[in-house]
């Protein structure tokens, strides 16, 4: 298979090399005269061959972080007001639109949430995959088409020659998401951003899609940013995890550490609201309340209105502090929180 040739070599060469470093990224939206701080000082890095999971509930800025990296924020109303996004030591935020287009799809690719709507209805999936290849690799029509069929085969689509000629509406959700993945990896990207790639699919298909992603990551040695609100997906896929709340990172840790010793009340709340095989409970726990209005975040800890550990000191702005090796927590009371049993 063309794509896998030398991929072990690539994997070794790029392994543990930081390919993306996001530093204090701030993306704001101007909505009706007020400012929505969608992404408010987010920092992280991604290494090649590794998966970073970003988790959080809807509206916490997960997707906007991904969109900001690729410069896909609609401007206006959005604007990136601060921070840097270093991709292979180049700040993407300072690049011209033209140079950025050369990176999008080529070096950094993205998979979207809704496979139903992220494929253009008037083109066959083969044409759509071939377009990316032609655009970045300068293949002619015939070779790009051949490559598109190889890619469909690589993402486990049966009868790829025939499926390449199908229109998106003729395929099931799982097939479309596979086609999206084929499109995303068509130019051997160094980084793949998957924005809730399995949310719209049912559970058996989810597992297959995750399998495909994991296999491709191992074969191509690419870094993966996996955005999801499904902690099961995180546990299965991620190496390190970023928990986001109200535009900020509230906890960051190695995946093992995060599940074993969650220290932020929000992370604990998320974990407690997932049913486990062993627990015998009638009612699942929930985190009371909703995410605060993004126009008017509280001055202190943004989770305070929903937090059961609230203290006087929580009225002060909380900083993301390194507590134990590579474990970052935005909570002053974390030691007290850690002492209490989850659930």
């Amino acid at each position: 298979m063309l794509l896998t040739q030398g991929s072990v070599e690539i994997y070794e060469r790029y392994q543990l090399e930081t390919i993306l470093r996001v530093n204090e990224l701030k993306t704001h939206f101007d909505v009706d005269g007020s400012v929505v701080r969608a992404v408010d000082g987010v920092s992280f890095s991604v290494e090649s061959g590794k998966t970073l999971g970003i988790v959080g509930e809807s509206g916490c800025g997960k997707s906007m972080t991904a969109y900001s990296i690729l410069g896909l924020i609609p401007q206006p109303p959005g604007r990136i007001v601060g921070g840097q996004v270093f991709f292979e030591n180049v700040d993407l935020l300072t690049l011209s639109p033209r140079s950025l287009r050369g990176i999008r799809g080529n070096e950094i690719a993205m998979i979207f949430q809704e496979p139903m709507t992220s494929l253009n209805p008037v083109f066959t999936i083969g044409e759509q995959i071939a377009e990316a290849i032609r655009l970045h690799k300068g293949f002619n029509h015939k070779n790009a088409w051949r490559r598109a069929i190889e890619l469909l085969d690589l993402v486990d689509i049966p009868l790829p020659e025939e499926r390449a000629g199908n229109y998106p509406h003729e395929l099931s959700g799982g097939m479309r998401q596979r086609a999206m993945i084929a499109m995303a990896i068509s130019c051997d990207p160094k980084l793949l951003i998957a924005d809730e790639p399995t949310t719209a699919l049912d559970v058996t298909i989810q597992a297959q899609i995750l399998d495909v992603l994991r296999r491709l990551q191992a074969e191509l040695g690419m870094g993966l940013i996996l955005i999801t609100h499904d902690l099961g997906v995180i546990a299965e896929m991620a190496h390190s995890v970023l928990v986001m709340y109200a535009g900020q990172v509230v906890e960051q840790a190695d995946v093992r550490k995060l599940f074993q010793e969650p220290c932020h009340p929000y992370t604990r709340g998320l974990l407690a609201s997932v049913p486990t095989m062993s627990s015998q409970i009638d009612e699942l726990l929930t985190i009371e309340g909703t995410v605060p209005d993004p126009v008017d975040y509280p001055n202190g800890c943004r989770f305070l209105p929903r937090c059961s550990f609230g203290e006087e000191s929580c009225q002060q702005p909380q900083l993301l502090a390194e507590v134990d090796g590579a474990h970052l927590i935005r909570c002053g009371e974390w030691q007290r929180v850690k002492g209490v049993k989850v659930g």
Binding site: G105, A109, N120, H136, E162, E170, G173, M175
Partner: protein
Amino acid sequence: MGVDRFVGSETQPTGQIADDVSPLEIGESFWRITRREFRKNRPALFSFYLLVGMTIIALSADLLAGNKPYYMVYEGETYYPAFRQYGVHIGLLEWPQELRTRKNFKRYAYTDAIFPIIPYAPDEILLSKKYRRPGAEHIFGTDRLGRDVLSGLIHGTRYSLTIGLVAVGISLVIGLGLGAMAGYIGGWVDLFLSRIFELWAAIPPFFLIITAAAFFPPSLFWIMIIIGFTGWVGIARLTRSQFLQVRSFDYISAARALGCSNMRIMVIHILPNVIAPVLIPAAFGVAGAILAESGLSFLGIGVPAEVITWGSLLAGARSNIAAWWLVIVPGFAIFITVTLYNLLGDGLRDALDPRQRGNI
């Protein structure tokens, strides 16, 4: 792996069909569905075939009516002037020296010739035969200069169709271009262009055309330009709204994430998705352009006097009300053609409207 083989379910029934798949037949493209839906609409299909027939008449007008014979023997030489004139029209051929003296080939002292069924050119003046009633010799009669009305009608098909299609083509280029810019770029560009659309739409089109026609020499070329330049607002507004809608779809974000330029997204990714609904006002626009040209020629500010269009035939009735055939014949031709284009537009609208069938 590969449990979700929906497409494979024809050969190996799984007993379960994903509910996200539209009820349409598998394996059909958008245009094939549209074609099938269009075929169901009898009047529209009938109009389409009649318009194809009319186009054939327009193309073969010189063979149906004219004073150039199919075959002619003159001074011992054999000529095929009816066919040769097509080459002469487009500038590929020239008339031989000996056939340049007369335009009306009936006046050559030929030894043998076969003339078209209607052996009169539309601009062939026979003052001795003016205002002839419809009859065996002139099926639809003659006008005040003795010109055959049927011949004028057949040749007028060319002008009507050309004006309709070219004027709408101009409108489409302007409307799609400005509408796409307004809808895709948005912001102050949209604000500015939308005001221009409103301003333009506020002027009654026919008066705009008349005013513009006063500034330009009467010619077919200028008429097409003027009608085209005045009729784009509807298309532009529709295009704008379509672009506004489609640009927020996920597959446009996906195209941007793939590294496509804005121009590429507009032309390759959005345009094919919005072109279908834009074709509906375009079909009505052809009808409108034909009416506008007829109106202008009737008022005498359209095409120059020597060009016979349906509108100028109709204008001939102004000087003699008694010549009823000069009203009925071209009037009916205009009415039929405009109706056919409107029926075609209706059929397109029904076939392209996704609400009339399952979602695509």
